[in-house]
């Protein structure tokens, strides 16, 4: 089971959970990235996400494929929000279900790191008087 989705709407957390829940699985590890009200000492009013959609799908599929080779997991789901977001809203939710809790937590933590390095997603932060594309170091591959 695999859910990889890009959405302009509020992320539906219950949909993410349902996508990975399974009677075989005792553990669901979830990571949610929310919009913070500050970054680098500046007050953030909101932001905008931009995604290279086709490559995003392909790259997240690869991440989940690698993940399944490293850990015993049952299902993975990732929903990325695009467009304009307010402070407090969720930009991303990742969930991993697994028979046992150790593998699920480890796999979920690994997935976020890979995602942040590799997924073609950009973020523009809006401040009181200006706006800026956030530059993180990236790895690519």
């Amino acid at each position: 089971m695999l859910l990889i989705k890009i959405t302009k709407e509020n992320i539906n957390r219950e949909e993410v959970r349902r996508a990975v829940a399974h009677p075989d699985c005792g553990a669901i590890a979830t990571f949610e990235g929310d919009i913070r009200n500050h970054n680098d000492g500046k007050e953030v009013l909101g932001l905008e996400y931009e995604v290279y959609e086709k490559m995003f799908q392909a790259e997240v599929k690869k991440i989940f494929h690698e993940l399944a080779q490293r850990w015993e997991v049952k299902a993975c789901a990732l929903v990325q929000r695009v467009g304009r977001l307010d402070v407090g809203e969720a930009g991303i939710v990742i969930a991993v279900s697994s028979p046992h809790r150790h593998s699920g937590m480890a796999a979920c933590a690994w997935a976020i790191e890979e995602f942040k390095k590799r997924a073609p997603v950009w973020k523009k932060e809006y401040y009181l008087t200006d706006a800026q594309w956030v530059l993180c170091n990236h790895g690519g591959k």
């Binding site: 930009g91 995602f115 390095k117 590799r118 073609p120 950009w122 523009k124 530059l135 990236h138």
Partner: protein
Amino acid sequence: MKVKLLFFAMIREKIGKDEVDMEIFPGETLEQLTQRVLAPAFPHARFFKSLLYAVNEEYAGPQTILRDGDEVAFIPPVAGG
């Protein structure tokens, strides 16, 4: 030989378009194409150090030789979710 170029984030804003079709030279590499297309808009060499590329939705190195019909994306530093 033609390729399609995709622009995102600050590149898209600077260029003012999200995609263009472009003629390439036989044997032209990603790096050469990038210099032709982006150097006028981005004069600082530092910008290119942090730039990555994708060809047909896969990360590709700067020495990759382009082929007719390729879809080339310039990937400025990603910010993740």
